[in-house]
């Protein structure tokens, strides 16, 4: 037995990676075995090995589509963060502004993007811009609501301390409200990054139905029409991996910013 075999198993991070990985591998193996034994045709459910082969074979085409989807997701996410934070800062200026405008932010959130995407695609000529608008609308609300909540969630004792020292509005914002809002803001980022991807895919679907598009959703749509189910699964896999990667990135960002002091990122 190797001398360092024991400590690896005992390390706290080990099982957090190993346990989900083991379940994933087991499920994939079962999928492969069941499909092979029951001779399920690949146009219904392809085996994992066939999906992997397709992913390699169609990689050039799929990569192009992935980059298109990533570009729209990224643009929408950045736009949502900038707009959302700006709107949140306006909201916390006064209760009156918040009360007047918040219902409209909620409308933004509850209106299904699929329902308004066709309109936006008609109104906005450039496809990339139209898709970005759709995805931004989808990703905006969590940033607004979380940042607003964060900017308001200030320790009342610290607020008194700032008042006592005759701090200006700007000093209170910069030194107290913004740092206090960070944990909430990062929570918003995590939700919003996923929604930007979903928004991009949904908008691509709508645009793709109309015959225009080149993103992953368009590939899924085309693969469906052609009954090329392995490619459909491969595209789906790429979308899922992108989502996981985004979530992981946002979590890492949050950890880097808050690890020292906030409860959510300790231990």
């Amino acid at each position: 037995m190797k001398p360092n075999a024991e400590p690896l198993v005992n390390r706290p991070g080990f099982w957090r990676v190993a346990a989900p990985l083991a379940i994933g591998i087991t499920l994939l193996l079962m999928w492969q075995v069941v499909c092979t034994l029951l001779e399920v045709p690949p146009y219904l459910i392809p085996t994992p090995s066939l999906i992997a082969k397709t992913l390699v074979a169609d990689w050039g085409m799929l990569l192009d589509s992935l980059l298109v989807t990533l570009k729209i997701t990224f643009l929408a996410f950045v736009l949502a963060v900038i707009l959302g934070v700006a709107i949140a800062f306006v909201f916390v200026q006064s209760r009156f502004i918040e009360v007047s405008l918040f219902p409209y932010a909620i409308i933004l959130q509850v209106t299904p993007i699929v329902a308004i995407a066709p309109l936006i695609i008609i109104w906005v000529k450039d496809t990339t811009a139209a898709l970005t608008v759709c995805a931004t609308i989808m990703a905006l609300f969590p940033i607004i609501s979380n940042t607003t909540l964060g900017l308001r969630s200030v320790n009342p004792g610290l607020l008194n301390l700032f008042r006592l020292n005759k701090a200006t509005r700007w000093q209170t914002l910069r030194r107290l409200r913004i740092p206090s809002a960070l944990p909430y803001f990062f929570g918003g980022l995590r939700i919003s990054s996923g929604l930007a991807l979903i928004g991009a895919v949904v908008a691509e679907f709508v645009a793709g139905t109309g015959g225009t598009g080149s993103g992953l959703a368009y590939q899924i749509l085309q693969a469906g029409f052609q009954l090329n189910i392995p490619r459909l699964f491969a595209a789906l896999l790429l979308i899922t991996l992108t989502g996981i990667l985004l979530f992981w990135l946002m979590s890492a960002l949050s950890r880097a910013a808050l690890a020292g002091w906030h409860e959510s990122e300790m231990g």
Partner: protein, 285 residues
């Protein structure tokens, strides 16, 4: 109505007096009342003068308005009636180097994202004190509370007692003339509390500092103070003003001395008496 007029002219008279003699009381409450919007009487006609260099404790049970009174001293709450004066002037005159006010809250209220040093420096940063001067004052304040080795540490890495020390350092860094403390050691264990009480008393005796200290502990009040204001609840009011006249060092020996016990007994009797006639006062009015 005429009560207000009277208070106004009285306040004007003090201001003249203060200018004449050059030494108005550090804090002065003239018929100060606080009634909340729902009708709760938090404070009833408090009159109090606190002179320079005094260590005054506000002692009383929960709901006697001692914290409310302290918040008014800090300018964080307005009285419903009556007037407050700081060094003979209104709140706007507070904040000059000779008239600096600092407050220590019930909880340490430190910024969790900032180091001990950054926390202690905050009031100076807000006042735009030059960097070199701020460095020196923060270092001195941290040394005074015994945290000089912990200046780069985040608050969560400190024990409750050390967090409170950081909070006190933050107040001392402003070189206050008036220090307001709202049950600062209430959440600490007895040993830590006694130690901090003794250290606070040392700091006070070394500096030209007036302290108003809110507590519900009779022992703490007697140990620390040169004067104890005893308060009762429903409605919150002052029932006694007791000078703690105990020369000599306030140390562990003082805690078990006969005068200490006698003062504790006196204060306890006042509080018991006030509890017994609690409702009677309200009926009289």
């Amino acid at each position: 109505m005429d009560r207000d007029d009277h208070a106004m002219s009285q306040a004007a008279a003090w201001e003249q007096q203060g200018e004449a003699s050059g030494e108005a009381p550090v804090l002065s409450a003239q018929r100060v009342e606080k009634t909340y919007r729902n009708g709760t009487r938090a404070l009833d006609e408090v009159r109090l003068d606190i002179g320079r260099g005094e260590f005054v404790s506000l002692l009383g049970p929960s709901g006697c308005g001692k914290s409310t009174l302290l918040k008014m001293f800090a300018g964080l709450e307005e009285p419903s009636h009556g007037h407050l004066r700081w060094w003979g002037g209104n709140l706007a005159t507070v904040g000059t180097p000779e008239r600096t006010l600092a407050m220590v809250f019930q909880e340490a209220t430190l910024m969790p994202w900032a180091t001990v040093e950054q926390n202690a420096r905050l009031p100076l940063d807000l006042r735009h004190v030059p960097r070199a001067q701020a460095d020196a004052r923060v270092a001195a304040a941290l040394k005074l509370v015994g945290l000089d080795k912990f200046h780069k540490v985040l608050p969560r890495e400190l024990s409750g007692g050390m967090q409170m020390r950081a909070s006190i350092a933050r107040a001392l860094a402003t070189s206050p003339n008036l220090l307001l403390m709202d049950e600062p050691f209430g959440a600490l264990d007895e040993f830590t509390r006694n130690k901090l009480d003794a250290d606070l008393r040392d700091i006070w005796s070394q500096q030209d500092l007036t302290v108003v200290f809110v507590t519900h502990s009779i022992y703490e009040a007697v140990f620390l103070s040169s004067r104890v204001i005893v308060m009762a609840a429903r409605p919150g009011r002052v029932i006694a003003d007791v000078a703690i006249d105990a020369p000599g060092p306030r140390d562990e020996a003082f805690r078990i001395s006969a005068p200490f016990m006698q003062y504790c007994k006196t204060l306890s009797d006042y509080l018991t008496l006030a509890n017994q006639q609690g409702g009677g006062h309200e009926a009289q009015r």
